[in-house]
Amino acid sequence: SGDVAEYALRLGDDALILAQRLGQWISRGPELEEDVALGNIGLDQLGHARSFLSYAGAAWGKTEDDLAYFRREPEFRSAHLFEQPNGDFAATIARQFVAASWQYPLYRELSSSSDPMLAAIAAKAVKEVDYHLDHSTQWVLRLAGGTEESRRRMVAGLDLMWPFVGELFEDDPLTTQLGDAAVVPSSLTAEFDRTTGAVLAEAELAVPAHPMATGGGRRGRHSEHLGYLLAEMQVLARDFPGASW
């Protein structure tokens, strides 16, 4: 149905925008192993994005590329977290830590969606996101417990990303009316708090007190960052409309 497609669009946009951000790291990582690791995570997210967007597009007679390259900013449905700039490695790790701590329970629950396609995509994705969560967790611990500088940066990175946690867990008519097909965002709050809380406790870090930012991504209201990201992502495809690659 259209509602399922709208829901798939959200998840696809989250993953697409995150993949785009991670793609910017490749050849710029702090060590080659991280070029590989961040590239892997980016590729996974891109894969999830393609599945969700293809599924969403099918309902509207559009391809994944129609959706990725020929929508304008207000038509994107991603949450603000994913469009936050990479910042330094600690900020990227903080964004990954939040993203994976949200996507992991989300995909796990979604793998028993009453919509078989959503269930199938999520069942595949959850295994990969499990690794993403482990990767970011390990880095949160390392950076928090490494040097004074790395701890300071890790704290700053978490402070930067934490305002965008709240939006992820906001329910709206779409998520509620989809019933068993979707996962109600607020139902994941407790697990997110528990997972992240345990890691932060082990890292001897406080849960950031930074207040939640006004979101709006699910309604197409984005931060000032998304425009730049889309301009770059879409420039070539739009320069050759209708072309095949």
Partner: protein, 319 residues
């Protein structure tokens, strides 16, 4: 005959291994010059994989379809993997990755000059795959039989992935050459720009390549520069027909007498210029590598400090 001792015994074993075209392993004795030549050749190869990520990484965020974006990300990531693999293989010769990185950043170790050209259009993703990876494979396939075991084994693995990359490059060009006139022009322009530089990847003409003889005697180079270049240009000529694109060299032909492919004169002045640091992107490539390395120092320090603390804690728990 008395049994040979020490270096003499080692040299005899080494000579015998080379003579029967077999493999030297890390624990075997080897001549210092052989070791140094290998370190130079292998670390240059590793650095090339790493620096070579840059021109392609340049198009990841702008790839014109999600499928192409995924393929390109995977490819650039493979190159990081190749670099890691080659650094490991080189480390068996008694040099650390840190030392090799320091040599690169100090400008003391080289990487393939081809990566000092910019990737200015999407079609360059096709041309790099088809021509640059194609030249690399032509160069590397014989090295799967290189005399140094870890190097030969690395080459086997790398060649497999590289030929996959080359096919992807070919497919990009094929799609473009069958696309809109603008796409086809973009493909032809890329082939025009990368043709000369890719032919020069095999190094100077044999008449002007002093180190080659020794390397060939050691079986760490198996064919001459010109021989490999000729094979490569033949491959290009035949595949260009399928692509419907022209090579920017009217002199390319299969010489019926020698059975070898020939090509027109190459711009060796440009080659030397780029090698000497005057290419379009020399400074940019080094700056990016240096920025990533220096900018990541605090991360590596943190990881080391954390590992040390964990080890100390574990030791304390045992005690």
């Amino acid at each position: 005959m008395p049994e040979l001792q020490g270096d003499d015994a080692g040299q005899a074993h080494f000579d015998a291994v080379i003579a029967r075209d077999s493999r030297i392993e890390p624990t075997d004795w080897m001549p210092a010059d052989y070791r140094h030549a290998l370190i130079r050749q292998m670390s240059q190869h590793a650095h090339s994989e790493i620096i070579g990520m840059q021109p392609e990484a340049n198009w990841i965020t702008r790839a014109p379809s999600l499928k192409r974006k995924a393929i390109l990300m995977a490819k650039v990531q493979d190159e990081a993997g190749h670099g890691l693999y080659l650094y490991s293989a080189t480390e068996t010769l008694g040099i650390t990755r840190d030392e090799m990185t320091a040599q690169l950043l100090a400008g003391k170790a080289r990487y393939s000059s081809i990566f000092n050209y910019p990737a200015v259009t999407w079609a360059d993703m096709g041309a790099i795959g088809w021509m640059v990876d194609g030249a690399a494979i032509t160069n590397q396939v014989p090295l799967c039989r290189a005399s140094y075991g870890p190097y030969a084994r690395a080459m086997v693995r790398i060649c497999k992935e590289e030929s996959f990359h080359q096919r992807q490059g070919f497919e990009i060009l094929l799609e473009l050459s069958h696309g809109t006139p603008g796409q086809k022009a973009m493909a032809q322009d890329a082939v025009n720009r990368w043709y000369g530089p890719s032919l020069m990847m095999f190094g100077p003409p044999d008449t002007d390549s002093p180190n080659s003889q020794q390397s060939m005697a050691w079986n760490i180079k198996r064919f001459s520069n010109d021989e490999l270049r000729s094979r490569f240009v033949g491959m290009l000529a035949e595949q260009a027909k399928v692509l419907g694109l022209e090579l920017p060299d009217p002199a390319v032909r299969l010489n019926p007498d020698t059975g070898k492919w020939e090509h027109g004169p190459l711009d060796w002045d440009e080659f030397k210029n780029v090698l000497a640091g005057r290419g379009p992107c020399n400074a940019q490539r080094m700056e990016r590598r240096r920025a990533a390395h220096d900018g990541g120092a605090w991360v590596r320090e943190a990881a080391a400090a954390y590992a040390a603390k964990q080890a100390a804690r574990a030791a304390q728990e045992v005690a």
